[in-house]
Symmetry: C2
Subunit: 420 residues, 2 copies
């Protein structure tokens, strides 16, 4: 059985409805993948993540290799049984985190976040980036570690993830074209080493995704895509700098995908680290199948709820004074505990402001429910041939919980014209 199949395609864009098969079950795409970076979706138990509608979670190679250690997790039966998640798991390569330390604020820059939000680099530091790999100091205890293509593959093999990502250098926005090109070429050499190690040693059935780099440069992105497309990898992930603004980001993703459309239509495509509402809609239309991003869960930890309002970038900051006596629940039709239990924004504001962990828990569930509903809308829209109209509705502020609700006038059984 092929790893990936396309079940329907949008005629107006490059969006496709797919089915991605892994050892621990399938994922209906387009899909969002919540982060279980250190082996837990912060605030939610595995059964809750699944019941919200997610089929896969992402574990972080970098964090898990430092603590509790990949060998310990292997000894205890692998990541699935360690964390109690029975569905598919994708693990990243560790590259993003380790290079984030090296480039300081790269994590913020790469994903086009505003400079004032960039965080100071943590205690960890990169000691050397060499052809062989990277040496760095742990942010936990200062101990020295090495991450190479082979070591990254080995860690991901120990974790027994369903999908492993090849080890890449994640270049930031501010480096030169020349550095980007040389770094990309090294990433390509590292991909070959990952493939060699994976072929010889990977656990049976583990899929390997190659990573497209090349910064914001069209020729480099196309070159990198073509290389991954012909590499024999099971899938492709788009990483590195996607530019300085959303328009450029969509453009750069387009560069990477244009090559894949002609050469590797059936390769599943993952976009690393992107998850804002409008970006998810746009990138689904560009042909991305899966996404991971800290955004919905991180916003929750900072007291921000996702709501159906493009004017506020789909965000409601509960700490604002206007929420102090606001009796309304966050969002009508949302099945999360906060909304279905009719908890007021005033109460959620209080929890956030008192730093009660129930605030994090409830907002995390709410935000992930929003993203799950959004992705479900997009899948149903592709299936029913209504993507242009549904995407326009969602961009305009439609509540994703209600777009396809049986009680809504916008029912999937209706003609697409109802969305216009």
């Amino acid at each position: 059985m092929a790893t990936f199949s396309i079940e329907a395609s949008d005629t107006d864009s490059f969006a496709r409805l797919g089915r991605l098969r892994t050892l621990h079950g399938h994922i209906s795409t387009p899909a969002f993948v919540p982060l279980a970076s250190r082996g837990a979706v912060k605030g939610l138990l595995p059964a809750e993540v699944a019941s919200i509608g997610f089929q896969m979670v992402l574990g972080n190679t970098f964090h898990l290799m430092l603590s509790p250690g990949a060998e310990l997790i292997e000894q205890l039966g692998g990541l699935h049984s360690f964390i109690g998640w029975e569905g598919p798991i994708i693990t990243d390569s560790g590259g993003f985190q380790v290079f984030s330390m090296g480039h300081g604020t790269v994590a913020d820059e790469i994903k086009s976040r505003a400079p004032h939000r960039a965080r100071a680099s943590s205690r960890g530091t990169v000691l050397a980036i060499e052809e062989q790999g990277v040496r760095f100091r742990s942010y936990i205890d200062g101990s020295q570690h090495r991450l190479t293509p082979e070591r990254s593959m080995q860690v991901q093999a120990s974790l027994r993830s369903d999908i492993a990502l090849a080890f890449d250098e994640c270049t930031p926005f501010h480096v030169s074209r020349d550095y980007t090109a040389r770094s990309m070429e090294r990433t390509h050499r590292w991909l070959a080493r990952c493939i060699d190690w994976h072929e010889a040693n990977a656990p049976k059935g583990q899929l390997l995704y190659g990573i497209v780099q090349g910064g914001v440069y069209q020729d480099l992105r196309r070159q990198s895509s073509a290389l991954v497309a012909s590499s024999g990898c099971d899938g492709v992930a788009i990483g590195g700098s996607l530019g300085g603004c959303k328009e450029q980001m969509h453009q750069v993703v387009g560069y990477a995908l244009s090559e894949l459309r002609t050469q590797a239509q059936l390769m599943p495509r993952h976009l690393l680290g992107i998850g804002e509402v409008d970006d998810l809609i746009a990138c689904v239309q560009l042909g991305i199948d899966t996404f991971d991003c800290a955004m919905p869960t991180r916003l929750a930890r900072h007291g921000t709820a996702l709501v159906a309002d493009p004017q506020s970038r789909w965000r409601m900051d509960l700490l604002r004074a206007a929420r102090r006596a606001d009796r309304a629940p966050l969002l009508e039709g949302c099945p999360c505990h906060a909304c279905s239990g009719r908890l007021s924004r005033a109460y959620l504001r209080h929890l956030v402001s008192a730093r009660e962990i129930n605030g994090v828990r409830l907002l995390t569930e709410h935000n992930l429910s929003f993203i799950a509903a959004l992705m479900r809308c997009l899948r149903e829209a592709i299936a029913s041939g209504c993507l242009p109209a549904v995407a326009a509705q969602l961009r305009g502020g439609a509540n994703p919980h209600l777009v396809f609700s049986p009680t809504s006038s916008l029912s999937a059984s209706a003609d697409c014209s109802t969305f216009l």
Copy 2:
């Protein structure tokens, strides 16, 4: 209908099985009351707290009056609807927290915790303790507040709790007998003012408990008990310093109860701030009906799980190296998510050590499940006339989830001799 009825009594001790009726339902006693200090049991949603087996939670007058404010909670419909808890709520008077600030480490001293665990006093400070009441500075924003018997009653009326506690001065262990006696007398005068305010203004059906003070002195405790017993209050709570060790604590609780046994057998009796496993057993045998304590939930936040092992004071510190590769779940037969999902101690240790909030959530649920099972055992033991044997079993390290389990050899239907 009487507020409290006794359904069975132990013939070997002063323990009694009771039923406490409130506006929001009844509580089967002896019962433990988890803390929802700032309007949330840290980590658990109301439905989960109820499904673990708790019928009442405790809200903190002091914390809630400072943030988000009692008037706001009243405006939003009272504490029950604000926090989404439909069962009974008891609120404390605010005295314990405000005097804890005044006496520095009183919170630790009063409850006989070891001196090295005492915490530095927070930003908040007591400005004056006067006949009228107490003036203090908020630990949140430094603003000045006044707490008087009337204000405490008013706040609790705004919260619409089912059970309000009278405002008392909570004296620490280190003060003199003379200070303790004078403070107790003021607490008695404050009780009269609380009763006056409550009779004139309290929401219909709200119960009022008077508080017994008197430090470690038998005559003072008896005097204070007698006063509360004849005060017309609906119940009694035992507060203040209970001595320097467990033996003294049990003795002091005994002093307070001896007077109530003869004068006010049908007054429900709450013991403030006590919740260690052996103390719960001992104090149930002394005739306490309800308990509240931060212990099970606070231990969870510090990475400690309750287990059936008196040698370790029923505690397992997950941060110890021995837990690093420990595949076992915390406790057989425990229905919490961690144990029923067979999550390993190694995984829980990892969550705690990585400061993942799921660690707090899972351990809080586990610890409260342990205490709920313990209290259920004690209730069933009183009902079936087996308390001496069951108490001995539990003190010896029996797993409370298994003592009355249908699959256990120690079945409730069996003769009590099976417990011997």
